[in-house]
C-alpha cells in the first residue's frame, strides 16, 4: 500500500491519503453498524450499570469539551477516545447521553449529518423576547456571521463570494486587510465558519478564475432560526417581514419542522 502511494504524483497521493484516512474513519465507524442485536444484548449484560453510567458521564464530558470550539463532533472520535470497548452498546449510551443533556443541561445533541454521523450541541431553550441571551459580552463574530447568513438567506440560499466581500467592505470589514476585531477576516469566514459548519464555501464549476459560492452550513440550519433572522431584518428595514413573501414562507416552514 505504501509503495503504491510513493509511485503516484503529489496531487494524487494527497487524495489517496485523504481517502485512506476516511477509510480508517469508516473502519472505526463501521464497527458501529456491524453489530447485531444479539451482540448488543450480550454486551449490555456484560457491563454493570455503574460502568454504563460512568461511560455515559465520560461521553457527556467529552462532548462538552469538544463543543467549546464549536467544531462538530464525529461519532468516530467518540468511539475512539471514549467508548472504546463499549462500542457494542453505543446506541444505548448515546440515548442516555442525549437524555442527560436534555434533562441536566437543557441542551440538544443533534446529528446534523446522518450519513457521516456528525453531532452538534444546541440550546434546547429558545431565547425569550426582551431578555438577554447570556450575561457574557457578545462575541463580535456572531454579528459577522449574522450578516453573512442574512444576505445568503434573503438572496435565495446561494450567493457568490463577491457579494459577501462587497457587503462586508461596506461595513468596513475588508478581507484584504487585518481587522481590529476579527483579524484575518477571510480566514474567519472561509475557514473557521466553514469548519464549524455555519457556512459552506463551495467551488463553482467552469469558472476561470475559480469562484466560490456561499451557502448555509449544516449547523446553521439547525442552530439559527430563519424566522427570528427575518424579523430582525424587518426591524432594520422598518418593514413587515411578511413583505418578503418567499423568505417568509421558507422561514415559517423551517420553524415548524425544527
Amino acid at each position: 500500500m505504501s509503495q503504491r502511494k510513493r509511485a503516484v504524483t503529489a496531487s494524487q497521493s494527497k487524495t489517496k491519503r485523504r481517502s485512506q484516512v476516511s477509510l480508517d474513519e469508516d473502519d472505526e465507524d463501521a464497527n458501529f453498524s456491524q453489530i447485531t442485536s444479539s451482540q448488543v444484548q450480550r454486551a449490555r449484560e456484560h457491563f454493570t450499570t455503574d460502568q454504563l453510567d460512568r461511560k455515559v458521564a465520560e461521553v457527556v464530558q467529552f462532548i462538552l469539551i469538544k463543543d467549546q470550539k464549536k467544531i462538530p463532533i464525529r461519532r468516530a472520535d467518540i468511539g475512539k477516545h471514549v467508548i472504546k470497548e463499549y462500542k457494542a452498546i453505543y446506541s444505548e449510551i448515546i440515548n442516555r447521553v442525549c437524555r442527560k443533556f436534555d434533562q441536566v443541561f437543557g441542551l440538544k445533541l443533534v446529528e446534523i449529518d446522518p450519513k457521516n454521523h456528525i453531532y452538534i450541541l444546541i440550546n434546547k431553550l429558545e431565547p425569550v423576547n426582551g431578555e438577554p441571551v447570556s450575561m457574557r459580552p457578545g462575541n463580535p463574530k456572531t454579528g459577522l456571521l449574522f450578516v453573512i447568513l442574512s444576505v445568503i438567506f434573503m438572496k435565495g440560499g446561494v450567493i457568490k463570494e463577491n457579494l459577501v466581500w462587497n457587503t462586508l467592505k461596506k461595513l468596513r470589514v475588508d478581507p484584504g486587510e487585518k481587522h481590529d476585531e476579527f483579524g484575518d477576516v477571510k480566514k474567519v469566514v472561509t475557514d473557521e465558519f466553514v469548519r464549524q459548519k455555519y457556512l459552506e464555501y463551495v467551488k463553482i464549476p467552469h469558472t476561470e478564475p475559480v469562484e466560490y459560492e456561499f451557502r448555509w452550513g449544516l449547523r446553521a440550519e439547525k442552530e439559527v432560526s430563519k424566522l427570528k433572522l427575518l424579523e430582525f431584518v424587518g426591524e432594520l428595514f422598518d418593514q413587515d417581514p411578511q413583505s418578503w413573501t418567499q423568505q417568509f414562507r421558507e422561514a415559517s416552514a423551517a420553524e415548524t419542522s425544527s
Partner: protein, 354 residues
C-alpha cells in the same frame, strides 16, 4: 450552404420572443453543423475557399474573444434585469457564427455560450423572487445605523457611509442583538478555572521575596566582618606581641632576676586591664614564649624563653592551671605587693575601654 444555415437560424430567432430569453439556439442543430465542418473534403458539405482563409478565420476568433472579454468584464451589467445586453451579445455571436466553419472557432463560440448560459441562469434566478426585493447595499446602511454610526453633517449620497465614525462597541451591539436568532449552546468552562494554574504564581512570589533580603545581607556582611576581625583577632595578637616586648625589655634590665607574675600583670588603676593582661599572658605561656615557675616563696614568676631553650611544639610536660581573679583579690594583691604602677603600659586602643 451558408445561406441555408442563416435561414434556419433566422427562424429560430423569430421564435425566441421574450426579451429576457437566451436567444434560443438549438443545440442539436449547432452540433450537426459542427459535424459537417469537421469533415474536410467529404462530399457535398465540403468547405469553400472563403471559409478556409486564415486571415478571415483569425478575424472571427479575435471578435469572439472580444465578445467573451466584454461579457466577463461587464458581468454585473449583463445581470441587470433592466437591460437586454445579454440578448445583444447573443445576437452578435449568432452573426459571427454564420462565418464559422472550423472547430477552433466553434470552440470559442461554445465558450461564449457557456458564459452566456451562466449569466442567463443568474438573471432568471433574480426573477423568481416574488414580493420585495432585497438590496444588500440598503441592508448595510441599516446595519451601520443600528451599530451606531455617527454620520457627518454633510453626508453626500453613496459616500455617506464610508465617512462617519463607527464606535468601538459597534460589532458588540450587533452581536448582542444577533445572538437572539441563534440557539447556541453555551460553551462549557470550569467555573474555577484550570486546576494546574495555581502553584506557579505562588512560587514566583516566594522566590522574589527570598532573593531580596539575601542580596542586602551579603552586601553588609563583608564590611562588618572586616571590622570585627580587626578588632578581635588582630588586636589580641598585637597586644600579646606588645606584652612580650614589654617583658623582654624588663628582663633585659636584670636577666638573672625573674619577674613576679603578679607584679607584672596587675594594673592597679584598672581591673579590666588586669584581666586582659592575664589573658594575653596566657597566650605567651601557651606558645612557649614565656615560662612560669614558682620561686622560693611559692609565688609565680615569669621569664621570657630564650630562643633555643625550649622547642616549640615539642610534646613537653604540660601543666595547666586556671587563674581566676576577682576585684577583691585584685585589691588584696595590690595591697600585698604594694603595687604602685602598672608594669604593662596601657595601649591606646584599649584605653578607650575601662
Amino acid at each position: 450552404m451558408s445561406d441555408s444555415r442563416r435561414r434556419s437560424r433566422g427562424s429560430q430567432e423569430e421564435s425566441a420572443g421574450t426579451s429576457n430569453g437566451l436567444g434560443g439556439r438549438n443545440r442539436s442543430e449547432r452540433a450537426c453543423d459542427m459535424g459537417d465542418e469537421d469533415d474536410t473534403g467529404a462530399g457535398p458539405s465540403a468547405i469553400s475557399e472563403e471559409d478556409d482563409d486564415p486571415t478571415h478565420r483569425r478575424e472571427i476568433r479575435s471578435k469572439y474573444r472580444d465578445l467573451i472579454n466584454h461579457v466577463q468584464q461587464n458581468r454585473e451589467d449583463m445581470l441587470n434585469p433592466a437591460n437586454n445586453k445579454l440578448t445583444d451579445v447573443l445576437e452578435e455571436a449568432n452573426k459571427l457564427f454564420a462565418n464559422v466553419s472550423r472547430a477552433r472557432e466553434a470552440a470559442l463560440d461554445a465558450q461564449l455560450l457557456v458564459l452566456a448560459t451562466d449569466i442567463g441562469k443568474e438573471k432568471a434566478s433574480q426573477l423568481r423572487a416574488e414580493g420585495s426585493a432585497f438590496d444588500p447595499s440598503a441592508f448595510t446602511e441599516h446595519l451601520l445605523s443600528f451599530m451606531g454610526l455617527n454620520r457627518f453633517e454633510d453626508e453626500s449620497g453613496q459616500d455617506g457611509n464610508l465617512e462617519g465614525y463607527l464606535p468601538q462597541s459597534a460589532w458588540q451591539r450587533l452581536a448582542k442583538r444577533s445572538e437572539f436568532c441563534f440557539k447556541t449552546a453555551p460553551s462549557f468552562h470550569y467555573i474555577l478555572g484550570s486546576f494546574l494554574a495555581e502553584p506557579p504564581p505562588l512560587r514566583q512570589r516566594v522566590e522574589r521575596q527570598r532573593k531580596a533580603p539575601s542580596k542586602e545581607a551579603k552586601r553588609m556582611m563583608p564590611t562588618q566582618l572586616k571590622k570585627m576581625e580587626e578588632s578581635n583577632l588582630e588586636a589580641t595578637e598585637r597586644e600579646v606581641e606588645r606584652i612580650l616586648q614589654c617583658l623582654r625589655k624588663y628582663f633585659a634590665h636584670d636577666p638573672k632576676e625573674p619577674i613576679s607574675y603578679y607584679k607584672f600583670v596587675i594594673d592597679p588603676n584598672s581591673f579590666s586591664r588586669t584581666v586582659e593582661n592575664i589573658f594575653h599572658m596566657s597566650f605567651l605561656i601557651r606558645d612557649g614564649l614565656v615560662k612560669m615557675n614558682l620561686d622560693k616563696y611559692g609565688l609565680p614568676c615569669i621569664a621570657p624563653v630564650k630562643k633555643g631553650e625550649v622547642e616549640l611544639g615539642r610534646a613537653a610536660v604540660r601543666h595547666q592551671c586556671v587563674i581566676s581573679i576577682n576585684q577583691e583579690t585584685w585589691r588584696e594583691i595590690i595591697d600585698a605587693f604594694d603595687i604602685k604602677g602598672a608594669f604593662i603600659p596601657p595601649s591606646e586602643v584599649l584605653s578607650q575601654e575601662g
